[in-house]
Symmetry: C2
């Protein structure tokens, strides 16, 4: 069998690329279907047979692309956090005052959360069904995220642009207010993602910014 492997000519690069692209596509579709079902029914109430059925395949197909049911959950759960981290990193990367960074971050963050609504909801709800290794990894990411927000708020307080009684509690309040949107947002509802993002941003900046800045943001 080793011989068999060696007998084959090395595959041409573009062929390999197509292979990989196909495999990626399949993985993505599996993730999508699983995300929908986990979101609608809950992780433990969803069987992999159901996921397979929705894709028109069977369970072993899934196992040939994904290690296990919990691996699937781990991957889905991390998606939302990744995007949230991107949002804060981009905001921090811009050159501007802490207040401007926050004004940039919040709408991006809300938008990111609402775009990955299902993964975020799953991430929050199914934490206890995660493999301990994944759970630890995600906890670390979350902590990193919280730290960055808190630092941003602190710097804004120092510079006088931001006014909150307690940066740590304020950071949690901010994240809570935004994360909570995953539970009440309905894509088919009256408010679009952009509208919610705008209103939530106005609401939150009203909370953090001192009046002068807050006015400036409103006028802009």
């Amino acid at each position: 069998m080793l011989k068999g492997r060696l007998a084959v000519n090395p595959p041409k690069p573009e062929r390999k690329k197509i292979r990989e692209a196909v495999a990626d596509l399949k993985r993505r579709r599996i993730l999508e279907a699983a995300t929908d079902l986990f979101y609608d029914l809950g992780f433990t109430n969803t069987t992999l047979d159901q996921v397979a059925e929705q894709l028109g395949v069977t369970k072993p197909f899934i196992y040939s692309h994904v290690g296990s049911k919990s691996a699937l959950l781990g991957e889905i759960s991390s998606q939302g956090v990744q995007r949230a981290l991107e949002a804060i990193d981009q905001a921090i990367a811009m050159d501007g005052s802490p207040g401007e960074m926050l004004a940039r971050f919040v709408p991006d963050y809300v938008t990111a959360i609402l775009r990955s609504q299902k993964s975020i909801a799953i991430n929050i709800r199914e934490e206890k069904n995660l493999d301990p290794v994944d759970a630890a990894r995600l906890a670390a990411l979350r902590q990193q995220f919280m730290g960055k927000i808190e630092t941003l708020l602190s710097r804004g307080v120092e510079s006088g642009e931001i006014r909150v009684p307690d940066t740590r509690v304020a950071a949690f309040a901010l994240v809570g207010a935004v994360s909570w949107t995953t539970f009440w947002f309905h894509p088919a509802g009256p408010l679009s993602i952009d509208e919610i993002s705008a209103r939530m941003t106005a609401t939150i900046l009203n909370l953090t910014h001192t009046r002068t800045v807050s006015k400036a943001v409103e006028d802009a």
Copy 2:
């Protein structure tokens, strides 16, 4: 067997009371144990055998006091919402301006949430494992709760005491910020329930109240 029942003299009231009190106590202990385990391990990862073990009894004991595993979950899940509703009802019942009502409500609400931390967390996480009937009942309660908060905010906006860009979104932001505490609060951590309540209240009122009121609250 009907005859047997009729042959018995009616039980004396105080006797019956003791019976009920004992049964109530047992139920409460079952609920407590189940709450701890559901919170720590998640609903589906907890077996009723584990709950029984923690109480030093066996599974049929539990079934003699509780209809089913999901009935247990339903009862646990509703506890937190009940208390939150009490908090808003008490605040509304006081005679005072909307701003004063809100200033009364928020700390009570935070305290209620943190005191029933585990049930709230379970309520949020295990929604999909609820019996559909319970789920509908709880959804109705939640909606009622949200409606009352939104009304309160609207009245405050009318009276000029409260300033938010959008009462509906602000109501969700408020509830999100507070509910989120269940996920990061550690009873053994550095901040007590009262401290968190105070800081969260200051943070939130900073968000809702116009400056003058906000100052007055701070000075008080």
